[in-house]
């Protein structure tokens, strides 16, 4: 559906995006994740034809955006970070204008308009001027604009920014529902959002792709029980001695003193060996009860931080 090959955009000497390639399949929701200034918006602006790339190819439904921009744009609905609204128009007038701009036949639009307005819940404000709407409603009207003409591809740049938690939930559910019919690319720097909504995630940092995978795989690839914290009651030296003698333990460090005679430790073990069982038995034998055992399970958030900070270290 969407093919992106070796996309690069240079601003003078700075590469806003650097050799990005990925594909999006039909009916897929792809999340675009990255810190501010990573190149998310730039990439989206290129895909939608708002700005041009320095080099590389963008194909939507097999059509190159440079060869037939008007035809490509017909298949894309774009919600930029700042919804492109005319404050002096009513919601009704604005959506009619968008439909006319996108050359939707009047008959088709008439039947579609009601559905779109109900979908994003703006029907009851349709006669109000956009400038008098709250931020959340403005965002919805922007969303409605992207849906005008029911384009095959939806590009949403931070669609939930500035909304309250209830609205965020609504918009997320809406995106999920839309993902059944449309191909969606959405960007965000809110991680739970991406892991909740998207089928696949592209993590982008400093204009380059740091990782592409499903949210589950991304956190799995970096998490297992090879790193955990354990809190044990008993003298520090004795506990350390027991744990470090277990086969497979590579690293051990006291991380905090919780009470007198109660410490927590960070343990790192070989990836192929589960050291939890032998540790339990041996500590029990010595009369050292385990009070708490917790995996240092990396959430997507931590994966993201790890990937993006690793990159930075490399760059330095």
């Amino acid at each position: 559906m969407i093919e992106i090959q070796n996309l690069t955009k240079e601003y003078g000497r700075i590469k806003a995006i650097d050799n990005i390639s990925f594909n999006v399949e039909k009916g897929e929701i792809l999340g675009f994740l990255g810190p501010n200034g990573a190149g998310k918006t730039t990439t989206m602006n290129i895909i939608t034809g708002f700005i041009s790339s320095t080099s590389g190819v963008v194909k939507i439904m097999g059509i190159d955006i440079l060869e037939d921009p008007v035809e490509v744009k017909r298949h894309i609905g774009y919600l930029p970070e700042q919804p492109p609204l005319y404050p002096d128009m009513t919601v009704n007038e604005y959506l009619d204008f968008c439909a006319a701009l996108k050359k939707i036949p009047l008959k088709k639009w008439k039947s579609q308009k009601k559905d779109i307005m109900e979908l994003v819940k703006v029907t009851h404000v349709s006669h109000r001027l956009i400038k008098n709407l709250s931020k959340g409603y403005k965002q919805r009207v922007g969303f409605a604009q992207a849906l005008v003409g029911s384009p095959e591809v939806l590009i949403l740049d931070e669609p939930t920014v500035g909304l309250d938690p209830k609205q965020i939930m609504e918009i997320r559910n809406l995106i999920k529902a839309l993902g059944k019919k449309h191909t969606v690319i959405l960007s965000s720097h809110i991680l739970p959002e991406v892991s909740a909504v998207c089928d696949r995630v592209v993590i982008i940092n400093r204009g380059r792709i740091a990782a592409i995978d499903t949210p589950e795989n991304l956190s799995k690839s970096l998490t297992d029980f090879s790193r955990f914290t354990v809190t044990v009651e008993g003298p520090e030296n004795k506990v350390k001695n027991v744990i470090s003698n277990i086969y497979g333990v590579k690293y051990l460090k006291t991380s905090a003193k919780i009470k007198d005679n109660e410490y927590s430790y960070i343990v790192e073990a070989d990836k192929n060996i589960d050291v939890r069982k032998p540790m339990f038995y041996q500590l029990a034998q010595q009369g050292l009860p385990i009070l708490e055992l917790k995996s240092l399970n990396l959430s997507l958030e931590e994966v993201f931080l790890q990937l993006t900070t690793n990159e930075e270290k490399e760059a330095v």
Binding site: L85, P87, D88, E93
Partner: protein, 235 residues
């Protein structure tokens, strides 16, 4: 393109801008008209149209300053440029919206020749020629204003650019008198005002019409270039 013309045209009349402009324009012209009546010149009506032309400098500046600059500020530029329309259509849409408002204003000024026709026996053909020249020069100024508003997102800057450049193309003909030979001819040739005065004198020349229209076309093409260039910019 039709959608853009319709939207922009409506926007002028939904906001006070169009009414304030028309009111201001009619007030100024009314004062001029009153003055001219007292002078008792023979070609009084065409002289009057000349002053209508020079008043345009302010009117067009206010009319055009918001066209593209406002879209850039609102972020609606993204909507226009990611819709399945060509940049030329966008610019032409913006241009014609202003032009239509201008035509409405021009229609309002018809009250003055009407008074003259009722009260006396003016040369009606001459009035028609003057108005033709006036509409053409309006088109040129508007295209210049649209071009200026494509250069910036600040409406004040856009209006200053428009004001200064209309002033220059209006008065460049005067420079001609400082030179002789080729330069004299060149300045006279690019002067919009000298062509305009031809119309006022009742000389409707096809070259003059083509000249005015190409003047407008050049600025429209330049505007399209400016927008395209920004999209391709590397800096």
């Amino acid at each position: 393109m039709r959608a853009i013309i319709k939207r922009d045209f409506k926007a002028y009349f939904n906001s006070p801008i169009a009414y304030v402009l028309i009111g201001l324009y009619m007030l100024l012209l009314g004062l001029f008209f009153n003055n001219f009546l007292g002078l008792g010149i023979s070609d009084f009506m065409s002289e009057f149209v000349v002053s209508m032309g020079s008043t345009l400098i302010i009117i067009v500046t206010i009319l055009t300053m918001r066209t593209l600059a406002e879209d850039k500020k609102n972020g609606t530029e993204v909507l226009l440029l990611t819709s399945p329309v060509r940049v030329t259509e966008i610019v032409l849409g913006k241009f014609f919206a202003c032009f239509c408002v201008f035509l409405v204003m021009t229609a309002a000024t018809l009250i003055f020749p009407l008074i003259v026709i009722i009260a006396g026996k003016p040369d009606i053909m001459l009035i028609i020629c003057s108005y033709l020249g006036y509409i053409l020069i309006g088109a040129v100024y508007i295209s210049l204003g649209v071009f200026a508003s494509s250069l910036t997102e600040n409406q004040i800057i856009a209006s200053i650019i428009t004001l200064v450049s209309i002033f220059i193309i209006q008065n460049i003909g005067y420079l001609a008198s400082f030179f002789s030979g080729f330069l004299n001819k060149a300045f006279l040739w690019i002067s919009v005002l000298s062509r305009y005065l031809d119309f006022i004198r009742g000389i409707v020349d096809l070259t003059s019409i083509v000249f005015m229209l190409s003047y407008a076309a050049v600025f429209i093409i330049l505007t399209v270039r400016v927008i395209e260039r920004k999209r391709w910019s590397q800096g």
